[in-house]
């Protein structure tokens, strides 16, 4: 039972339960009823309460080992975490380095360092996609994507 509870499934249920509890507490100062109709806190409180109850039910289900839904995916953590780190660094640099450079470097790092693909094809694909996104979003649709020191 301890192993069943100490996994991501239980973690998700606990996280949602905590969010539900936070919403219930946060809804109280907003008030539940005003005049003839619910006030701003009514539905958030109800949603929080229901979410807390459902999360507890899922935790109970996990604890008693009753299966409900798909078995957990066993794939590793390392690559997804690495991809998130790469995206995080790209976002940190998006406004200072500019859209084009950030996206270019993100793609190149994912292709060459994360996936260990060959450099020249990776560079070609990276250039094509970065240019395509720049043309489509900035030039054609006029979206004001951040510009870096090179003006792109």
């Amino acid at each position: 039972m301890r192993d069943r509870l100490l996994n991501g499934d239980a973690g998700l249920a606990a996280l949602l339960g905590a969010v539900g509890l936070y919403w219930m507490v946060g809804a109280v100062p907003l008030g539940f009823w005003r005049g003839f109709a619910p006030a701003a806190g009514f539905l958030p409180f109800c949603y929080g309460l229901v979410l807390l109850a459902l999360s507890a039910a899922v935790l109970g289900q996990i604890g008693t080992g009753r299966a409900d839904g798909a078995a957990p995916d066993q794939a590793g953590f390392a690559k997804p975490v690495l991809i998130m780190v790469v995206i995080g660094v790209a976002l940190l640099g998006l406004q200072s380095a500019g859209f084009a450079i950030s996206i270019f470097l993100t793609l190149l790092v994912l292709f060459v360092l994360v996936e260990r693909l060959r450099f020249l094809p990776s560079l070609a694909v990276t250039l094509a996609i970065t240019a395509g996104l720049h043309l489509l979003f900035r030039v054609w649709l006029g979206v004001p994507l951040p510009k870096g020191p090179l003006g792109i």
């Binding site: 109709a37 619910p38 996936e115 996609i129 979003f137």
Partner: protein, 497 residues
């Protein structure tokens, strides 16, 4: 006879070389913007509006109608191929469409979407042509209690999507809860914004949809590496035999649902696609197929979202009230051209109305001709090794989310929800109910509070109005019928034993 004369005049206007080219341009633009998350048809039309100052109003409206129709199919492409819904109406298509793609059936998924969209779009235009005034009167009968009941029916889908009822309900309620963030629409009080200015507008659904479906899918699947995303061989695009037998009913039902829901102001293709999906799952002999590549899960929502496009024009032309966000922008365009939207439009500017209606027929044909042959080509994209596919998907997600509101904070939120989406996918928690709750939650709350204000706090308003009562009974049946039927079947089996 008057309708036929008007339609023929409309075709005469729409088939001039300039207007025909504008229709093709609109459809192509619509497909591109529909495929891009963060850029929707309303954004595309708003961006093009200044360019049409002084232009012929008929030509401009024909192009805008083409953009609107094309955008839904563009969203289908990304929903099916890379599990990133480009449009809110593509969320339900992504659930089963992408599973079909993983099974080597992307061509069939795109093919049935193209055929279903064509049939639904064409029938929808016929409905717009023949029924606009009567449907407009029906739309006027929809007040806050009816909207509340309709959305309640939509929310019954929370338990219907995904394998786990409990987890589906939990994520759906989480979505409802996220929908309460920002400024309360009734009182103007800020709620759950964590003292962040950028959260005062709440969380945009496209950020969460791209994060859960796009980035979450990438994180969950990135370990495929050099393997292809597709399990089986990519086959043809025309649904045949069993596929067509399952799809045709779904297309018919989706068309009716989409058109009727689209007629209601403020609802649009998103709710239409959700309701169509629930209906298909409820009427299916084996509902367990849904979420694993059921073709009805693509055919129904796709037909619904295209029929809703035509339905959304009904209140716009007949009443001067927008049926969706996109038609709101188009209404602005009509006013900009000096036209008066509303019942008088049919009398004073019938030529423009009929030209737009005729161009919608043309746009549906263009969509079918363009996309059916290309569906197989698009499907072959999935034979590219996943290590080459997912980095561009990541780039599109970042760019699309940033473009939505030019906000880096949205991108960070995308990363956070992407991690959540990965965890949810890893442990079998369905993502679609979260989106459903986020989209429907604000409308649900507004309709509830307005209804109770109207009735001075009495809940009987929901049962005393016939349309609202029927919809609430339908919602109750949708929730109570499956467990009741299961209990009766168990009892019968025990008696026999």
């Amino acid at each position: 006879m008057e309708i036929l004369t008007g339609l023929l005049d409309g075709f005469a206007t729409a088939l001039t070389p300039t207007n025909f080219l504008l229709a093709i341009l609109g459809v192509l633009l619509g497909q591109i913007v529909g495929a891009l998350p963060g850029i929707g048809p309303s954004t595309a039309i708003a961006l093009l509006l200044p360019l049409t100052f002084g232009a012929d109003p008929a030509g401009a409206m024909i192009m805008f109608a083409g953009i609107y129709a094309g955008s839904h199919y563009g969203g289908t492409l990304t929903s099916v191929l890379i599990h990133v819904p480009g449009e809110s109406s593509g969320v339900m298509t992504a659930v089963d469409g992408h599973q079909m793609a993983r099974q080597g059936r992307a061509g069939v998924a795109l093919g049935v979407a193209a055929i279903g969209s064509f049939i639904a779009g064409t029938v929808g235009v016929v409905g717009l042509m023949l029924l606009a005034p009567s449907l407009a009167r029906l739309a006027l009968a929809f007040g806050p209690p009816e909207y509340f009941a309709l959305i309640l029916l939509g929310l019954t889908a929370l338990a219907a999507v995904g394998d786990s009822v409990l987890r589906g309900l939990a994520t759906g309620v989480f979505g409802l809860l996220l929908g309460t963030m920002g400024i309360d629409p009734q009182t103007g009080v800020p709620r759950f914004h964590f003292d962040a200015l950028w959260l005062l507008d709440g969380i945009d659904f496209i950020v969460v949809a791209v994060a859960l479906f796009g980035l979450g899918e990438v994180l969950a699947t990135c370990n495929l590496g050099a393997a292809q995303a597709v399990v089986g061989k990519v086959r043809g695009v025309i649904p045949r035999g069993e596929d067509w037998r399952r799809s045709r009913g779904a297309i018919a039902r989706g068309t009716i649902i989409g058109f009727l829901v689209g007629v209601l102001p403020g609802t649009g293709a998103t709710i239409a696609s959700f309701v169509a999906y629930i209906v298909e799952k409820k009427v299916a002999k084996d509902p367990s197929r849904f979420g694993k590549g059921a073709i009805e899960g693509v055919a129904g929502p796709e037909a619904a979202n295209n029929a809703a496009v035509s339905g959304a024009f009904v209140p716009m032309f007949a009443l001067g009230v927008p049926g969706s966000g996109t038609t709101a922008i188009m209404l602005g365009a009509l006013i900009m051209f000096g036209l008066r939207p509303g019942p008088a439009l049919f009398a004073d500017n019938a030529d423009i109305v009929w030209a737009v209606i005729a161009s919608m027929y043309i746009a549906n044909v263009i969509l079918l001709i363009l996309n059916l042959p290309l569906a197989g080509l698009f499907a072959r994209l999935l034979t590219i090794p996943y290590s080459w596919l997912y980095p561009p998907i990541v780039a599109i997600c970042i760019t699309g989310v940033y473009s939505q509101a030019n906000s880096i904070a949205d991108c960070w939120m995308m990363l956070g929800f992407g991690a959540l989406g990965w965890a949810m996918k890893r442990h079998g928690w369905p993502a679609a109910p979260l989106i459903l709750g986020l989209v429907l939650g604000p409308m649900f709350e507004t309709a509830l509070r307005q209804s109770l204000t109207l009735s001075h706090g009495s809940g009987m308003i929901f049962l005393s109005r016939p349309i609202s009562a029927v919809l609430i009974v339908a919602a109750a049946v949708a929730v109570l019928a499956p467990p009741t039927v299961a209990w009766l079947q168990r009892a019968a089996a025990q008696r026999q034993a």
